[in-house]
């Protein structure tokens, strides 16, 4: 009694501190029920309703009970802020009459003069109803006492759902991996996803699975939830399989009590008791038929599948040489955007082109990749002139139409003015084009060690060289001089004779000596006389016809020969003549005569030296 009083007092006390929250009138009901199932529909209002609430008519259902009313309130004080929330709940217990989908209209409530309605909703009723129908897993089942482990597929399975199973290569497929269960799941211990070989996969953001929801599968009610969502682009032709997904789960199995349930047990039953069990489940592989793209692909086709548009822009079209120009190529649309490569643009060789930069703005949703991919080209013209960046083609395959589509960007006319004088690149940097020699090696060293000589010791320019030239000149000069002299002297016969004189005299004396040795008296004296007269005649250049003792001696005197010598000569000649022509033989004097002759000639030679 007192408790209730306290409750009412505190309730009223805080009534003044009531902070009005947004008023909501909600309804909660299962989406799918079995035909034989009894279920509850609850209407909740978070404020005290004014008058009576008008509830919808549950025409297709049997109202087992209700509305039963309950209310709850809670107070929270956070940061000196007091918030009170209150809930008024009205619950109906229903049972379906037949199978089908039925809609329930909204309920109407009034709070402080304002009218609030709950939402309209549908309930799907499946099954035939009747006795041996499935119960909700949470309730105790009146089956056999032992817990039966039914086959996997009957209470727990994984399913991979695809929106399309026959596509073109590169066409997007959305895959959803769901888990279906008719038992209570405590948790998962292992999740193994396949490799998706043959696909390019993009995971879609999926909220973490918290609660399983009811779903009608072939006339049966299952509790299902989405584990993962992804977009797949097949990269191969032919049949590709999505390999099974594996999971290991822990389930709570309802344990039947061994003994018979009495009325008391039912009354005091706090619910069924559970036992944990491990189960391993695997999805079935899913076959995807991938059709190859048709053969007549345009040249610029590079694997883009979907539906796109192309926009090309250039940041400036009038530049100076060596200024950078930026081109943007944007491909916008839906499809395998991430796999699209930069289109190849045919730039003039006078441009220095840098590798294009890619930026993307892609939104992954179940519609596939939507968004845009932009390629940025930076080019630098190195010379002045008028250039054209040609229109560039981008092709893609539209799976919807089954045709290839080619888009053409517009062309750009670029005017490049002469750059500033600074950068006169007269010579290009290294790295020559002539690659012929790379791979070969240089020839080996020369191993002969001869040929070494001192630097500067060349013959040319050396002293010897100059000397040898001078030598030649000198020798030639001397030769000329001497030669001239000889000629001159040869021209003078007299000199010739003079020179000859000695020669002749010597020769004759030699012969005389021979005769002397051979004791040929006559011949000896002959020869001696010849030598004497010959010498005098040659030396004095007296012609033989004029040659006499008188002429000879006259000339000798002219040359300053003493009389005494002349007398000697005279005597010698007389002696020789006498010996020559006189009879008898006196050989003893021959040697003496010879000696005298030699002495005379020698003396004359000395005296007559010019």
């Amino acid at each position: 009694m007192r408790k209730i009083a306290v409750f009412i007092v505190s309730f009223l006390f805080f009534a003044g501190l009531l902070k009005a929250a947004d008023i909501e009138f909600t309804v909660s009901a299962p989406k799918v029920v079995d035909a034989s199932e009894q279920f509850a529909v609850t209407f909740s209002l978070n404020a005290k309703p004014g008058k009576n609430i008008i509830f919808p008519k549950f025409n297709d259902f049997v109202i087992l009970g209700g509305p039963s009313q309950s209310s709850s309130s809670s107070i929270s004080i956070i940061n000196n802020k007091v918030t009170q929330s209150v809930t008024y709940a009205y619950t109906f217990y229903l049972q379906p009459q037949k199978a089908g989908t039925f809609s329930i209209s909204s309920a109407v409530a009034e709070v402080d003069g304002k009218v609030y309605t709950s939402r309209q909703f549908t309930i799907e009723v499946v099954g035939s109803g009747g006795a041996a129908a499935q119960q909700r897993p949470q309730q105790g089942a009146d089956k056999s006492t032992q817990a039966v482990t039914t086959a996997e597929g009957d209470e727990l399975f994984l399913k991979v759902l695809v929106d399309k199973s026959s596509v073109y290569a590169g066409e997007k497929i959305t895959a959803t991996i769901k888990i279906y269960s008719r038992v209570a799941i405590a948790g998962s211990e292992e999740e193994k996803y396949p490799s998706f070989a043959g696909f390019f996969k993009q995971d879609l953001p999926t909220p973490q699975l918290r609660q399983l929801e009811r779903e009608n599968v072939n006339g049966e009610i299952w509790y299902s939830g989405v584990l993962k969502r992804m977009v797949l682009y097949p990269q191969k032709n032919g049949d590709i399989y999505i390999d099974p997904v594996e999971m290991q789960l822990v389930i709570n199995r309802v344990v039947q009590s061994a003994r018979q349930r009495s009325i008391w047990d039912e009354f005091f039953d706090s619910g069924p008791s559970y036992q944990q069990e491990r189960k391993r489940i695997k999805s079935r592989p899913v076959k995807i038929q991938v059709r190859p793209l048709p053969a007549n692909a345009p040249e610029s086709f590079n694997g883009a599948v979907g539906d796109f548009t192309l926009i090309a822009t250039a940041d400036k079209l009038q530049v100076k040489a060596n200024d950078a120009v930026t081109l943007h190529f944007t491909i916008k649309g839906k499809g395998n955007l991430k796999l699209i490569e930069a289109p190849k643009i045919n730039f003039s060789p006078d441009f220095e082109v840098y590798d294009p930069k890619t930026t993307e703005n892609i939104d992954e949703n179940t519609g596939g990749s939507t968004g845009s991919r932009t390629f940025e080209y930076v080019i630098i013209p190195r010379h002045s002139g008028n250039y054209t960046i040609p229109a560039t083609e981008f092709s893609f395959f539209n799976p919807q139409s089954g045709k290839y589509v080619s888009l053409l960007s517009k062309k750009f006319d670029l005017v490049v003015a002469r750059g500033d004088g600074e950068s006169t690149a007269v010579v290009s940097t290294a790295s020559r084009d002539n690659v012929t020699y790379i791979g070969k090696d240089i020839r080996f060293i020369k191993t002969k060690t001869n040929g070494l000589y001192r630097i500067g010791s060349d013959f040319y320019g050396s002293l010897w060289y100059v000397l040898s030239l001078i030598f030649i000149v000198a020798v030639t000069a001397i030769a000329i001089i001497l030669g001239r002299k000889t000629i001159r002297e040869n021209a003078n016969l007299a000199v010739v004779r003079n020179k000859r004189a000695n020669k002749m005299a010597i020769r004759r004396l030699k012969v005389a000596k021979q005769h002397l040795d051979a004791n040929e008296r006559d011949r000896f004296y002959d020869e001696v006389l010849k030598a004497l007269w010959g010498y005098i005649g040659d030396k004095l250049n007296i012609p033989t016809s004029d040659l006499s003792r008188q002429s000879a001696f006259d000339k000798l005197q002219l040359y300053g020969i003493d009389d005494s010598i002349l007398q000697n000569i005279s005597q010698l000649i007389d002696n020789c003549e006498y010996q020559r022509y006189a009879p008898g033989s006196d050989d003893s004097q021959m040697t003496e005569v010879y000696k005298q002759t030699v002495s005379v000639i020698t003396t004359l030679d000395q005296k007559l030296k010019k």
Binding site: A425, V427, A430, I442, K446, I455, Y460, Y465, S468, I472
Partner: protein, 256 residues
Amino acid sequence: MKYKLLFILSMVILPFVAHANASMEKANRLYTEGNYTEALQEYKILFDAGYHSASVYYNTGNAYFKLNRLPEALLYFEKAALLAPGDDEVNYNLKMVQSLTGDKTEEIPVFFLKRWVMTWVHLMSLDAWAWTSVILFLLTAGFLLLFLFANTLSLKRIALYLTVVMLIFSISAVVSAQARYRLMYLNKGVVVMVSNVTAKSSPAESGRDLFVIHEGTRADAIDQVGEWCEIRLLDGNKGWIKADDIAWIRLTKQTK
């Protein structure tokens, strides 16, 4: 008399030459074993001692090449080519290094007369020209004497003609020798040795930048002011660069 002296001189020099030969053999052996740096040191010893030959320059170039010092390799191959312009191996290696280093410039085609003269001058080595000139001079003298002292008129005429011809030949031989000499010792050719250098319009840092050239580029040094050199590239462009950045091809007693 001259030959006796020469003989004595050579006897004095011979021991030194033998020593030099041994040094070169050692260097070659080091090269064959792959010790290129040590081989270079041996070659340097030869240069410092004042010895050189086309083979030594060529081998030095090879050693530098193996050590991947391409500008030096180019320099020494060019030096070798000064002494042995017709040598196949020298020319092959020279072409190979030229293709791997230096800037590619359009070469101005050489005036055809100049080309002929160059071919003529390179027909013989320097000393061969010198000896040739001596012999021709001797012949000139001989024919002169013949002319002066011949007895018959016809002989005199032939001798006069031959004298003049021989004189011309001997003079051209001397001139060729001189040209060869200048090419070897007074060559203007240079090789850029630093990785890159900017040529300016005047011999000062403040000069305007004209062009950039890189190591291994061949040029001719046509003027020098202080520490700056005016160079002319093979395509005719001229500019001033620091003398420290280049190396001369001409043969000198000093080694780099």
